[in-house]
């Protein structure tokens, strides 16, 4: 669980002076001495009125949050989806939830293979799909049952994007979800393991209207169980069953 993940910042981007303050402040807080500053670095403001003993000490990327929301609050949005016995790692740029590197699904005798995917997201990838505005560089990935998939998710826009997969077994992934999010341009890597059933999993970005306007895709395990609707380049709109 604590292998150092392959994760790189590409350029922080033109975020300006003040976001640098934020990044530096966070790292200072990790060390527990928020008010000390290196020569030339901005000092984080801390008013006397604030409780100086409350400092963020846990922003290192491998922090695991267990049940931090208390009883009965799983998945209610207050602590973020999937918290409560799940894991999440998060920092200034990226968030990965429900990563699973070695819990083999109970219907798999072993991991069948290790697959590495690279997924790019951004407005540029909508160019091949008329009528959309955002996109992934591919709208379908094919993997084998019981494979361990390591995704490097790259955001090439200056806004938030996500790579979120639904429908995984809930005993292993809270709410059946595995989620990667980037606050802006950059990349992050995470891993999950699929069970043996041959199924099409929905993959999308959940920011309002990003899925509808191009960021919808599917992960096909084995032969899959049929295309999901409205995947750019692959399928059209959902046809509801006749009354």
């Amino acid at each position: 669980m604590n292998d150092s993940p392959e994760r790189k910042f590409s350029a922080i981007g033109p975020r300006g002076l003040f976001s640098s303050i934020g990044v530096i402040a966070l790292s200072q807080l990790v060390s527990g001495h928020a008010l000390a500053n290196e020569p030339g670095e901005e000092q984080l403001f801390r008013a006397e009125a604030y409780d100086a003993s409350e400092q963020r000490t846990d922003l290192a990327i491998d922090k695991t949050m267990e049940g931090s929301c208390g009883e009965g609050k799983c998945g209610e949005g207050k602590c973020g989806e999937g918290s409560c016995g799940s894991n999440m790692r998060m920092d200034e740029l990226a968030m990965v939830m429900n990563e699973n590197k070695d819990n083999i699904p109970k219907d798999c005798p072993q991991i069948s293979e290790d697959i590495k995917l690279t997924v790019k997201a951004g407005r540029e990838y909508s160019l091949g799909h008329n009528g959309t505005i955002f996109g992934f560089d591919a709208n379908e990935w094919r993997v084998s049952p019981c494979s361990r998939i390591t995704v490097t998710f790259i955001n090439e826009d200056q806004v938030r994007h996500q790579w979120m997969i639904h429908g995984l077994p809930k005993y292993l992934y809270p709410q059946g979800m595995y989620h990667m999010e980037l606050n802006g341009e950059g990349q992050v890597t995470g891993t999950f393991i699929v069970p043996s059933n041959e199924k099409n999993y929905l993959v999308h970005c959940d920011i309002a209207q990003h899925m509808e306007k191009g960021m919808k895709a599917q992960l096909v395990v084995g032969k899959g169980d049929g295309n999901l609707p409205s995947i750019p380049g692959i399928s059209g709109a959902y046809i509801p069953p006749a009354e």
Binding site: F18, G22, A25, F45, C69, K78, D157, A208, P229
Partner: protein, 510 residues
Amino acid sequence: MVVVTLLAGLLGACDKATYEPYKEPPPSIKVEQGEVQAFCPETIDPTWREAQTIAGVEIQESRLCLPDNPSDIAAFVRGTNNLTMTQLMGTQLSTDALVKGRDLDGDGDPDEIHIRLEVVELNGGSPDSSDPMTTFEIAPGVKPGFWAFAPKTRGMATENFESNVANSMLRLPSPTIRVEQGDKVTITLENSHYFPHTIHLHGVDHPYVKENGEGNDGVPQTSGPMIMPGQRFSYELQPRHAGTMAYHCHVQTGAHLLMGLIGLFVIEENRPNNPVQTFNIGAGHVRHPSVAVRESYDREYDLLYIDTDTELHNIIRSSNDVRKIAKSMNREYKLSESTPDYFLLNGRSFPYTLRESIIVTAPDENVKLRILNAGTSMLALHTHGHKPTITHYDGVELAEAAQVTRDVIMVGSAQRVDLKLSTHNDGLHSYGEGIWLYHDHTELGITSNNMMPGGNIATIVYESYLSPEGMPKTQGVSLMPYFSPEYYQRKVPVWSASDPDGQLGEPQGE
């Protein structure tokens, strides 16, 4: 002789009148009202209403049905960079949504403020469903499409997995932004929407260009390019003057502003030890008012009025092709033929205004009201039971002799008015405790889909008339019929709750 002639005429002695056979008029039928919502949904955590201090931030009591989440308020005062992980996880904000930096003038509060905003679409469409997505209901059953600015968030747009309802950060109106006079403010718009947008600071002191020469006014025709989908741009300002101002999108302004991309922008007077509540989500009650406001007022409310022509707002669901939506909105919809049919106060119509936009007060208080008319026509704001005093026009304080006290206050489009509402029972400023309506007196403003009561009706409620769950203890007709979609679909005879025999009810066969 004259009398006999008259009588003969009356009795029809010459020609006999005929009549139709008696036909019994149809009976009144009971109209099914469908599901009537509760005044206050039970999902709210009642501890949110209490006065409390979180992370060193004092938060006023808020006895509304839907109070602001105190954890969010603490985050908005401290900044997302000044929270513990647990505190940040108690909100939906991204790590960089609000970064507060150094105290430049040494007066005990941060003066470098970096705000990050995104653009969210509410009640949008989907090719796979006829239901709206990421929903925000303005009145029972009413969900026209809207756009709003929102602080940068993380995770899902909906409140949880099973729900289609937008999470609490994503709503109308765009949040009130508060900064202190003299703060060095950077506002970064990260355009997460599928159309281009900008931010124009209305009434807020800002230079025409930034230090690096880039345009800073947010007007595509003069100042700089639009922020395209997927792009970000930062605006920089250090406002020299305090006051109630506004910010809004200046791309295709007639449509984008009315779609919801407008909010209050308040510059508070500079005081020591005055970290302000940078966002007031959904406007309304300010639970952590600034030091300057606390000097003269007991409570503060932000009030944003806007009107809605559902024909414009439903264009976003007419197609999933962004080009068709653009064509329909920019080149086919006619603003000159617009007929507004919903009128919102802080993003809701009556009766939902009663859940969030009640002005709660008590005797002998001074309440500060900051009003922005973001709508297309004049607002004639009337307060029952009180005559407030106008203290500021467009954020500029009026000379004392010019501060008029009256009970209908006119506010033109994009104008702001600051009011001092005194609850001193002298027969002029206040007539005493009670539940006193406040609403637009241009009668159209109190309708929803041409049904009354609706529109921007809300109430000033004295604490003695308020239940612990934020429901005004009214003594008139039941308010419950208004909490059903059928009422605003014009299906329900309006007096049915007071008319058990149906004498004014729905005649059968209509």
